[in-house]
């Protein structure tokens, strides 16, 4: 089984593992996750134009790998609202975490890391199994199909 280790500085929160969802685009919980407005609420991505590689995907329970957040302060409120209903992600991996997302991670104790080497956007693919140890800044990736 092929395992890749990525190392960075201490992140937010503890440990978590799950299936990875990878995007090269910046994420906003208010612009992109239209599932928030649905009844019942879901963490589904509805923004085909600005988040095409995640269109139709459900972000709940996944390890989200994306460059950074975008937009304003509402992303954290929306993320926290979803997390309260058990629809939050398992962990977040960024190249550089947007402060609005960092705060949500702190309040939710959601394992979040950035500044990893090698670059997670080049190494991790959607479907890989990822273990995040935010306390020590270590990510372990098991490639899918292994």
């Amino acid at each position: 089984m092929k395992t890749i280790i990525l190392k960075g500085h201490k992140g937010i929160g503890g440990t978590a593992e799950g299936e990875a969802l990878v995007s090269q685009n910046a994420l906003s919980y208010i612009f992109d996750v239209g599932g928030i407005w649905e009844e019942p609420m879901s963490a589904k991505v509805t923004n085909k134009i600005e988040m095409p590689d995640w269109y139709g995907q459900d972000l709940a329970g996944k390890v989200l790998v994306f460059p950074t957040g975008r937009g304003g302060i509402f992303s954290s409120a929306m993320l926290m609202g979803l997390a309260k209903k058990g629809l939050g992600p398992k962990a977040m991996i960024n190249t550089k975490t947007h402060p609005v997302f960092a705060y949500a991670s702190i309040v939710l104790d959601l394992p979040t890391v950035d500044g990893l080497d090698p670059n997670p956007l080049e190494v991790i693919e959607t479907g890989d199994w990822v273990k995040v140890d935010a306390e020590n800044g270590i990510v372990e990736v098991t490639k899918k199909g292994d």
Binding site: F31, S76, A77, A102, Y103
Partner: protein
């Protein structure tokens, strides 16, 4: 992070649980961003945070903290979201809020403002951007709970835009098109925001505009829209921003990492992005998501609508609040708009329809979705952007065109 003895004691809970919670949030954030220390803040401008399905969430958290005897340590101005939780002023009084004004999270509050060089915490990207770019105060954009924490402690971690080296310009935007009103400025903001979508720390430098060619309200309109798509909360407008008096100063002598030219085609592309083939709108909205009208825009609307009536087939709504509403009410402007059939905010639209939707209904965007409205005309690019991905078709038009559409009921004249 190095903490002073006092800060360490607060983190250990010696000043009470409320302060301990606040300090814990600040320290965890500071450490994540490699801040060396906390710095005192001169003021806080906050937006109350909502969450889907449970509006007033921030109020509950504030009530808990107020019960613990926590109060704000610095002058604070708060702009509760339109119609959201302003009735919870009681909790703000307990917390020692200096001034609470309905302002929709934008910098038209004339009372608590920072000065150049001050560290502050500013809630909402529009205010953060305005204070950074045009006043030269220093703020990051953070979540509402974090900002409240900074306000309770009176300090914030020194990272991001609190550090001078991060405030230097990185990307150049050469403006080669006249910007004639707030709508044009909001279109420029959207354009820049889209170009820099993936980089919170990129500081755009805008060159080619003289201070004589703009108004404060246009800078506010720009502040609302430039963080909307991406995450820009600090720009240097050459000749206007105190930290960008010249192009040289804006880049601190370095070369821009990239240069974009913004000409008539580029600006028009924003209007093309927000356009429709439909012949009539489902709603015409002046203001929208976190956007409220300037007094000039309100006067212009009244001038164009006086003695006329808007088309009865769809609602025409104006978002006017705070001090602008105060002036509009007392100068008879609000009456002129009402006589023309304009609704002052979404609640009046729903009252007329005999509906009672609470919470998010105050927001034009969310209401539209619930009502099944599809083609919405706005005078600003931020509102267009905020709903453009929810299967709704926003249309960007200048104020005079919005008024024409509201009266005739036809999008193309």
């Amino acid at each position: 992070m190095r903490l002073t003895d006092d800060e360490a004691r607060m983190l250990a809970g010696e000043y009470g649980e409320g302060y301990r919670r606040a300090m814990e949030i600040l320290v965890r954030l500071g450490e994540f961003y490699d801040a060396e220390r906390l710095v005192p803040i001169s003021m806080a401008y906050l937006v109350e945070g909502p969450s889907p399905g449970s509006p007033g969430q921030a109020t509950k958290w504030l009530e808990e903290v107020a019960d613990l005897g926590t109060t704000f340590k610095c002058p604070l101005s708060t702009a509760p979201l339109e119609g959201g939780t302003f009735t919870d002023y009681e909790v703000h009084k307990r917390l020692g809020t200096v001034f609470a004004e309905r302002g929709g999270g934008h910098p038209r509050n004339p009372f608590v403002l920072p000065v150049f060089g001050q560290h502050i915490t500013a809630g909402g990207t529009a205010v953060t951007h305005y204070c950074n770019s045009y006043i030269g105060a220093r703020s990051n954009t953070e979540d509402f709970l974090a900002q409240y924490s900074s306000a309770f402690v009176g300090k914030t971690p020194e990272y991001g835009y609190h550090l001078p080296e991060n405030r230097v310009g990185k990307t150049l935007f050469d403006i080669k098109v006249p910007l004639r009103d707030e709508t044009d400025w909001s279109a420029l903001g959207y354009y820049i925001s889209r170009k820099l979508a993936k980089n919170y720390w990129d500081v755009p430098v805008i060159n080619g505009i003289s201070p004589a060619d703009l108004t404060n309200d246009e800078l506010v309109a720009f502040s609302m829209s430039v963080p909307s798509y991406g995450a820009v909360v600090h720009t240097l407008l050459v000749g206007v921003s105190p930290e960008g008096r010249t192009l040289e100063q804006a880049f601190a002598g370095a070369k821009p990492k990239e240069t974009y030219v913004v000409g008539p085609d580029e600006l028009q592309s924003v209007f093309d992005t927000f356009s429709t083939s439909k012949s009539s709108p489902d709603m015409v909205c002046f203001g929208g998501f976190g956007v409220n009208l300037s007094i000039s825009a309100v006067y212009e609307m009244a001038r164009l609508l006086e003695g006329k009536k808007v088309c009865p087939d769809f609602p025409t709504v104006a978002m006017i609040d705070g001090t602008v509403r105060f002036v509009a009410d007392r100068t008879g402007i609000t009456d002129i708009l009402r006589k023309a059939g304009v609704k002052m905010g979404m609640p009046e639209v729903f009252e007329e329809k005999g509906l009672d939707i609470s919470g998010w209904s105050q927001n034009a965007v969310i209401s539209a979705k619930r009502m099944g409205w599809n083609t919405l005309v706005f005078a600003d690019a931020k509102s267009c952007h905020y709903i453009g991905n929810q299967d709704i078709e926003p249309v960007l038009k200048h104020i005079d065109e919005c008024v024409r559409i509201a009266i005739t009921g036809r999008i193309e004249g």
